[in-house]
């Protein structure tokens, strides 16, 4: 990793760590995401209809897609607007750092913890399910297509989310507005994932891999758009710049 990217990544992580709002949200929100799915799958009993079990497990898995999609939007809100509000944007832009280095550093700072958090939550979910849930629920949760989807989609969804968040942050003048718009911008993606989680789109390993490839292409396109938006002059003189 290039030294400038490393510098951006390290600074971003230090800042998040010292921002109690970000830390508390990063901890509380995932707990909320895991608590409801766990409660619902553990509540499945012999009287639950097989269709209902499919729905419950689908809902639980959708929650794990939401973690990498939603967590980076929290962080992305700060990425540009936060810098602008603190007056740090211009000093940073006067350094030799290239826009790609700045963007990758900021993106990694959001993607890495979000992905790690999502994997950890899924690991915890699977462990609890294996220990306490019914056999038919366990086999549905450990369906290879779903596991592959979680494994592949998580970093790609987090990456997509951070590019959208950065694009919105670059054009906003208020952190909360940037965060809310980023969350709203994720809704179409949530709709697609809903179709997968609830098996409207047949969940096979091939479909999961094809979906991951499509997401990777989307990420690449989004990266190019964000990179073009991240123009020094535009950042300083528009969207609430001085």
């Amino acid at each position: 990793m290039n030294g400038r990217v490393r510098a951006v990544l390290r600074k971003e992580l230090r800042e998040f760590r010292r921002n109690t709002l970000v830390v508390s949200t990063m901890v509380v929100l995932p707990l909320f995401f895991i608590a409801i799915p766990l409660a619902s799958v553990l509540a499945v009993n012999s009287g639950t209809a097989p269709e209902a079990i499919n729905g419950i497990v689908g809902g639980a898995l959708l929650a794990f897609f939401l973690v990498p999609l939603m967590l980076p939007t929290l962080i992305a809100g700060y990425a540009v607007v936060g810098e602008r509000e603190q007056g740090t944007l211009e000093p940073v832009l006067t350094t030799p750092v290239r826009r790609e280095e700045l963007l990758i550093g900021k993106a990694l700072a959001a993607v890495v913890p979000s992905t790690a958090m999502a994997y950890a939550l899924f690991g915890l979910f699977v462990t609890v399910v294996q220990l306490f849930a019914r056999r038919d629920v366990v086999s549905l949760v450990l369906e290879p297509s779903q596991v592959v989807a979680i494994a592949l989609f998580t970093p790609l969804l987090a990456t997509f989310s951070i590019w959208v968040g950065l694009a919105i942050s670059a054009r906003s003048s208020d952190i909360r507005v940037a965060q809310q718009l980023s969350a709203v911008a994720m809704l179409p993606m949530v709709g697609v994932l809903w179709l997968f989680a609830f098996q409207v789109i047949a969940p096979t390993v091939t479909v999961a891999v094809a979906g991951a490839i499509l997401l990777a292409v989307l990420d690449l396109g989004a990266w190019r758009i964000v990179s073009a938006l991240f123009d020094r002059e535009r950042l300083l003189t528009r969207y609430g710049g001085p």
Partner: protein
């Protein structure tokens, strides 16, 4: 070895000998040997418009290497935009510029930014991070190897009197201390060209003096300093030359040179009572070009050679029977120059 400075029209100026007060208040001679093989900053018909609104229009000037160059102008005059043009943050609409010998363009942006440092008007620190973390981040952005970063950071902090505060959280510092950290950040890379935007804004008198001494030290080390300020006395004291901008460049030159160019020599006279017939009295003294009343029993007499005219003028006033209280050469400050030029613009706008 070439001589140092040029005026706005590109004419070479003489090296200057200035007197600078030391910390103890004594005056020490400072010979400014501004040695330049080439200009550190060069603008040629540089123009920036935002839509149809011109921010800076058709500015042409050079700043020699090692020079401390003051950039003055009212709010909205285009000073910040000019600094942003030189630091490749905004693209010129027309004209060309060179910084540290490199033509300003999209492609050369990173190279120029690696040779300069900009201290923005607001300190721009990450308030949740410590002073050290803030500077370490910028050291990383400038590509300073991590092995050297610590020494560079401590040296820069020491230069601004903040070495003992490196582990303090930036948010816990006063505005003045944040300003000092911002200055330390600008010194991290030992830049060839340093842009300082209001470096003493918000500083107490002691800190202000320290920053000014630091700028003097930078000059001695051959760093080119482009100083944007509203403090005219600061510009006059620190700068080898100044430029006054109000969208267009109004004037460029050494402060003394500007005074000579804008104001004719004059003697200021104050008497105990108003003169009965000042016109006859002043006209009778050879070497006078005119006069005006500047207060009750106070006059300003335009002369070609103040030293030659003053004794005769004093004798004439005493001979008229009116007591002479004060007679001196009129001293115009940089503020007079500034107000003269800026008020001209106000008149034009009206």
């Amino acid at each position: 070895m070439g001589a140092c400075c040029w005026d706005g029209a590109g004419r070479e100026l003489e090296p200057q000998k200035r007197m600078a007060p030391t910390r103890a208040g004594r005056v020490r001679p400072v010979v400014t040997l501004v040695v330049a093989m080439q200009a550190a900053i060069q603008a040629r018909e540089l123009t920036k418009r935002f839509g149809s609104r011109p921010a800076v229009e058709d500015i042409t000037f050079d700043v020699a290497a090692g020079e401390v160059f003051g950039f003055l102008g009212p709010n909205g005059a285009g000073k910040t935009t000019t600094v942003r043009l030189f630091s490749t943050l905004v693209r010129p609409t027309a004209g060309t510029a060179e910084v540290a010998g490199i033509p300003v363009s999209e492609e050369t942006g990173a190279e120029i930014r690696s040779r300069i440092a900009v201290m923005t008007e607001t300190p721009g620190l990450y308030l949740r991070l410590t002073v050290f973390d803030n500077l370490e981040y910028f050291a990383g952005l400038y590509g300073i190897p991590s092995g050297d970063a610590r020494d560079r950071i401590l040296t820069a902090l020491d230069a601004v009197g903040m070495a003992g505060r490196h582990s303090d959280r930036a948010g816990a510092l006063s505005k003045g201390l944040r300003q000092r950290v911002s200055l330390a950040r600008a010194l991290l890379t030992d830049p060839r060209v340093l842009f300082l935007d209001e470096p003493t804004s918000g500083l107490d008198p002691v800190a202000t003096r320290e920053v000014r001494e630091l700028i003097d030290g930078l000059r001695d080390r051959g760093v080119t300093v482009f100083l944007t300020t509203h403090r005219l006395e600061e510009a006059e004291r620190l700068c080898d030359r100044i430029a006054i901008l109000n969208t267009t460049l109004r004037i460029v030159g050494a402060p003394a040179d500007l005074r000579r160019r804008l104001f004719s020599s004059a003697l200021e006279v104050r008497t105990i009572a108003p003169l009965v017939d000042p016109d006859s009295l002043f006209s009778a003294v050879s070497g006078t070009d005119g006069w005006e009343t500047v207060g009750d029993a106070a006059y300003r007499v335009s002369v070609r050679d103040p030293a030659a005219v003053a004794p005769e003028l004093a004798r004439a006033i005493v001979a008229s029977g009116v007591g002479l209280v004060h007679l001196s050469e009129a001293a115009y400050s940089l503020e007079d120059v500034y107000l003269q030029l800026v008020s001209e613009d106000v008149e034009v706008v009206r």
